[in-house]
Subunit: 369 residues, 4 copies
C-alpha cells in the first residue's frame, strides 16, 4: 500500500472542479491535486494557477496516462463520464466520478466492469452522504429515535445549473431531475440502508425556462422502497433567492427536519453588501442568508478525505459505481413514468440513450380504465 | 333581508362543533348558536351547557324543522352530510357543511340541487381559505410578487383524527387524503383562481396504523391544473409532535413560505407544564411550540363571519357546494390513481360509493410498456 | 349606562391616528370614530375622508366640546398630551391617551386628578398588553410553566420614528427610550403583576443619527423589581431591515421566546415586489418578512375593544393613567441613570422638565472609589 | 523550528480536557496529546485510556518536567491556572490556558512575564474566536456590510457549570459572569478590532441557585468601547432546555444574527430518544434541537490547529495572555460595578483577590444626587 497524500488529477475546470480542488486543499495530508485537464484553451492553465497545480493538459487521455497520478476526478459534462472513466481505469488509475455516474445503464456497467477488471476503485462522488447535518439525522434514525422510518424527503432547488452545458440535453441527458434528483435518490437510498427500489413516479415539466431548454426545470419524484417506505424528492431549476437544500424524516416514533442552507445561515441585512452570501444568491444587499464553512457543511472535504482513505485501504468505500448505477436506473424509470403518466416498477429496461428521452419521446396521456 | 345575528343550529357535538361554536362566540353581532342536535344521549345537552345554547335535539330533523334557526352547520360524520343538508334545505334553512362535502358526487349534486331549488345557500366550510397567513400569501401572489406561479404546495399532518369514527372507512369514506387533503386541494384551487384540474396522482398507504384502520395514513398527491401549474399536497395521520400546516408558493419571480403553527408559535421550554400548547401536542413539558389565538389564526371566526355576511347578502359566498364537489371529484381521482398506479385525468367517473374504495378495490401493479 | 358603540373623537391625523382609526373600523359594534381634530390645514379633512368621519376640527378644544363624542383619543405630540387630556376630562369625555402619557410627573398627576374629579376614565393606550402572542406568554407564566420568573426581556427596534416631531426633543421629550422603552417597561411591569420598581439603569447614546437629533437612538435599560426580578429593555432607532419586536421570559422552571414580526412572518423572495411587507421595511423586493393581520397581531383592535368595554363598564380597565405615570417615572430615572452612570433607586424626584434632560444635562463620569 | 505534530500534555481530566483531547484527535498532523496529569486517583488513567495517551501523571509538575512535551494545556480549576502556567513556562513549555486566564491581574502579569522571559508562548484558549459562524459575521463586518458597527451582543446561557468546583467561589473566583462572560467580552473585543474598553456596568445576582452557591447565576453586562461602540453580554447558569449561544451585530448599515446551537440544529421529535442532542439538554425525547459536528461548530479543532501552527511559527497567535488579562480586568470592573451600582471606568484597580469579591464585599445602594 502506498503512503502519503493520494495524488489526483482533475478532469474539468468549472464549478465542480473548483469545489473539489478547494476541498482537497483543506486535507493536504490525505490528498493533493497534481494535474488538471480541460479542453478549452486557457481554462486548465488558469485553474492550475489558482490552485497551484504543476501539470496541465488539454486532453484528458494525457492526464490518464500521467504516471504521477493515482486517481482521476471526473467533473466533465455527463456525456463524457464513461469514456473518461474507462481511460483512467485502463491506465490503472482509481476513478472518482461526479454525479450522475453517466448517461446509460450500459455505460454504467462498462465503467463498473472496466474498473473491476483493472483493479481500481470506482468512487461515486455524492457529497450529500458526507453532509454533517444529514449524517446527524441518519445517526439519530439508526439509534431508533424515530422507530420505523416510513417517509424520507429531500428537496434541492436553485435558479439553474452552474455550467451552461447542462441546459443542453444532448450534453447533460436530463434536467433538474438528473442534476439534482440524483442527490435526493442516493440520499434516501443510503439513509434507509439501501433497500430495493420497487417503483418510481415523477411529475415534471419545463415550467419556467422554455426559451432556454427542453429539460425539466421543476420535478417531484415519489419512490417506493421495499419494506413499505416512501421517498419524496423535489427539485427545481427555478427557485430564486439562493440555493435550498432540505430533508425531512418521518417514522412512527418521531421526525427530524434539517435545512442545510437557510437553516444554518446568519440572517443578515446589509445596505452596503459584502463578499459572498450563498450559492446562487443574486445579491448581498437587503436581507440575505449567508452561510459559513460552506464546503464543510456540504461535506466536500469529508468526501474527498474519505475517498483518499478508501484508496489507501483504511476505510471501506461508502459510495461506489453500483450506487451511481442504482440512481441512474431510478432516474430512467422516473423520466419514463413522467412520459407514461404512471408509476414504473423496477427493474425498468430503458428504451432510450439519454434519461430525459424517456419523457420527451412520450406524452403522458394515460387511458384510465 | 333579515337583520341581526344569523341564528344557526349545529348538528354534531364533537371537535368540529366545538370549533364552530367557539368561533361564533367571537362574533356575537354576526351569528349566534341557538340550537344543537346530537344523537348520543347527553352529548347535545353538555355541549349546550358549555356554550349556553337554549334548544337541544337528539334528532337533527327536529333541529332542521325548528323555525327559530336560519341555517344549520353540519359537523357530523361524512356519511351523514348529504341527508342532513337535504333536510335543512327542504326546511328552508341555509346549509354550512364541514369538509368533505359528502361521500359521492351524486350526493354532491343532490345537495347542490336541493339547496338551489329551495333558495338557500350551500356554504362549504373550509377555514383554510380564511387563514390570515395564507391570505397574505395569496394577496402577494395576486399583486404579482412571484410572477407566474407554477407550483403550490400545502402540507397538513398530525397524529390522527380527533373523532373515532374517522378510523372507520365505512363512516368516513377515506383516510388522511380525504380528511386533510381536502384542505390542500381547495387551497390550491382557490389560490390559483379556480383553474380546471387536468390530472391527479396520489401515492398513499397505511404505513403506521394498520392495526387500527384500513384507511391511508400517509399520502402525497400531485395535481396538474390547466395553465401549466402543479400542486403538491402532503398529508399524514402519523406525524408526532403536534399538528403541522404549511404552504410553499413558487413562481418564476419568487416564492413565499408559511408555517401556520410552529411558524407562529412561541418556542417554549417548561419543566412544570401549562394548559395547552397546540392541537395534537402530546405534552406541555420540555420543548413545545404553543400557539396563540388559535382559532383566529386558523381563520375560523373569519369564516363564520363571512358566512353570516353571505347569508345576509352583504358578501358574495367565497366557498360553496360547487367547490366542495370539485374537491371531492379530485379526491375520487386521487384514490383511483393510487389504486391504478397512474395519473388519472379529469373528469373521472367514480366506480365506487366511497372515495377510498377506488384505492382499496385495486392493487397498483401497472404494466409498463 | 349608555349602549351602542362608544363614539370617539381622534386628536391627531398621523401614524398613530391611522392605526387607531383602522383598528376601530374592525370593531364597529364596540366603537366608532365620529370626529377628528388636527391643526394642520387639510390633514383632518383628508383623514376624515379616508375613514368616513363626519365631524372635522382644526382645534382640539372644539372636538372636546362636541356633545356627540363620549371619549377622545390623543395621538398628538407628547408635549400636548396633558392639556388635551385635561380639556377632554373637563368636558366630561373619557380620555384614551397614547404612550408616553405626558412629559412630566406633575402633568401625569394633573391628568389623573382631573379625570378622577370629572368622573371620566383615563385609559393608557399601550397595545403591547393586548398583543395575542405576548398574552400567551403571560398566560403560560401565570399557569406556572416557568416556575418563578426572574428575567423578562423586551426589545423593540426600528429605523426611526414615524413622525418628524419625534426627532425634536423639545416636542418629544426623549428618544428611543421614551418612544419605544415605554412599551417594554409597561410590558415587564404588567407581565410580572405590577411589582414595585426598585432601581433603573440605562446605557444610551446617539450612536447613528447625530446629524438629525440630540435624542438617544440606541438604548439598553435594566430594571430591578421587588422580589428579585430583573427586566432588560432594548430599544433602537437605527435597526435596519424592518421593525423588530421580541420578548424572552426566563424562570427557574423554563423559558419562552416570542418574536412578533419576523417570527410570525412569511419568509418571501420577490423579484417584482408587492404592496406591503412590514412596518419600516425599505423594500418589498429580494428577501422580506411580510406580516399578516398586522393590527390584530399588534393587539390594536383588541385594545380599543377593551377600552370600549371599559367605558361601557363591562370590563375593568387594564391599563390606566397610573400605569402611564409609573412608566414615565421609570423613564425619568433611566435617563438620570444614563447621565449619572449609576443605578438610580426609585422613587426618583426628577430635576428637569423633560425626561431626556436628565441625561443631556449631565455627563456620565462617575468617580469610582 | 521543529516539525511534525506539536506534542502536548493536558492538565486536567474533566469536561474541558475532554473537549481538547477530542478536538486534537481531529487534527493528528498538527497536534497530539502525549501526556495527561490529574491529581484524583484514577482520573488521569481513565482519561489516558479513553484517548490512548501513553504518559500519565498525578502531579502536574511532573508533566511540566517531561521532556517529551512541547506545550501544556491547562484545564484545571481557575485558582490553579497561574502556578501551572508558571511551572510549564519555567520548564520551557508553551502554555495553552483555558479561560479565564487566572484569578488576579497580578497573576496575569506573572504568567505573561514568565512566559516571555522563558521564550514560550502564552496562548489564551477562547474557542469563540474560532467558531466558523461567528467568524463569518466578523468577515461580513470587516467587508463593510454593516457600515460602522455600534452594538455587539453576545449571549451564552445554560443550566449550570459542568464541573462542581465552579459552584465554589473559592475555587472558581466567580459565577456565570466569570465562566461565560469571559467568552462574550473577548468576542466583542476581538470582533471590534481590540478597541480600548472605556467602562463596564454589570447587573447580576444569584437568582435561582441560592441554596447551592454564592456566585452570580444571571448577569447582564454593558461595555463601552472607545469609538462610541457598546457591547451587551448576557450570561446565565439557570437557562433550561440546553445551552444557548448567540450573537447580534448592529451597524448603521445593517445587522446580522447568529444562533450557534438552536440556530444550526435539526428540530427533532422523538418518542424513543437517541444518543445525544446538545450540551446540557436534559433529555432526547419529545422536541429537541440536536446539533451536528459540535466541536467543529464551536471552533475547538480550529483553535488547537491554530495554536499548533502558532507554536510552529506559521501563524501569528490570535489570542494571547494579553487578551486574557484584558478580559479579566473587565470582569473585575464588572463585579465592582455590580457591587457599586454604577458604571466603572477602566483602568480599574481591583481591591480584592477574586473577581466576585468586588461584588460580594459591597451592597449596591448608591446615593443618587
Amino acid at each position: 500500500m502506498k503512503n502519503g497524500p493520494v495524488r489526483v488529477g482533475i478532469i474539468g475546470s468549472q464549478f465542480q472542479a473548483d469545489g473539489h480542488a478547494s476541498a482537497i486543499s483543506m486535507i493536504p495530508d490525505d490528498m493533493s491535486v497534481v494535474a488538471v485537464a480541460s479542453p478549452t484553451a486557457g481554462h486548465a492553465q488558469s485553474f492550475a494557477d489558482r490552485f497551484n497545480i504543476q501539470r496541465v493538459y488539454t486532453d484528458y487521455r494525457d492526464l490518464a496516462a500521467d504516471p504521477e497520478i493515482e486517481a482521476g476526478i471526473i467533473t466533465a459534462p455527463n456525456s463524457l463520464h464513461c469514456e473518461m472513466a474507462v481511460a483512467l481505469a485502463r491506465a490503472g488509475k482509481h476513478v472518482i466520478c461526479e454525479k450522475p455516474l453517466c448517461l446509460t445503464l450500459d455505460e454504467a456497467d462498462l465503467m463498473i466492469e472496466t474498473c473491476r477488471s483493472n483493479g481500481v476503485m470506482l468512487l461515486y462522488a455524492d457529497e450529500l452522504l458526507f453532509t454533517p447535518k444529514y449524517q446527524k439525522a441518519k445517526e439519530m434514525a439508526d439509534l431508533g429515535a424515530f422507530g420505523k422510518v416510513h417517509l424520507v424527503k429531500h428537496s434541492e432547488k436553485h435558479s439553474g445549473p452552474h455550467s451552461d452545458w447542462f441546459w443542453d440535453v444532448n450534453r447533460s441527458g436530463g434536467g433538474a431531475l438528473l442534476d439534482l434528483g440524483s442527490h435526493g435518490i442516493v440520499f434516501a437510498y443510503w439513509f434507509l440502508g439501501r433497500p430495493k427500489i420497487v417503483s418510481v413516479y415523477s411529475q415534471l415539466g419545463t415550467y419556467v425556462h422554455r426559451e432556454k431548454t427542453k429539460a425539466d426545470d421543476e420535478c417531484v419524484t415519489i419512490i417506493e422502497f421495499e419494506g413499505d417506505v416512501m421517498a419524496v424528492i423535489e427539485n427545481s431549476w427555478s427557485r430564486l433567492g439562493g440555493m435550498d437544500d432540505r430533508i425531512e424524516i418521518y417514522g412512527e416514533g418521531g421526525l427530524t427536519l434539517a435545512n442545510l442552507l437557510m437553516g444554518n445561515a446568519l440572517p443578515t441585512f446589509s445596505k452596503y453588501g459584502f463578499g459572498y452570501a450563498v450559492e446562487k444568491a443574486p445579491t448581498t444587499t437587503g436581507w440575505t442568508y449567508p452561510v459559513f464553512d460552506e464546503l464543510w457543511n456540504y461535506g466536500l472535504p469529508q468526501e474527498v478525505r474519505h475517498f483518499a482513505r478508501a484508496i489507501r485501504g483504511v476505510e471501506a468505500p461508502l459510495c461506489t459505481g453500483e450506487d451511481g448505477k442504482t440512481v441512474l436506473a431510478a432516474i430512467y424509470a422516473a423520466y419514463a413514468s413522467a412520459g407514461l403518466g404512471r408509476k414504473v416498477l423496477l427493474p425498468y429496461e430503458p428504451t432510450t440513450k439519454r434519461p430525459i428521452d424517456e419523457w420527451l419521446s412520450r406524452t403522458a396521456r394515460p387511458d384510465v380504465p
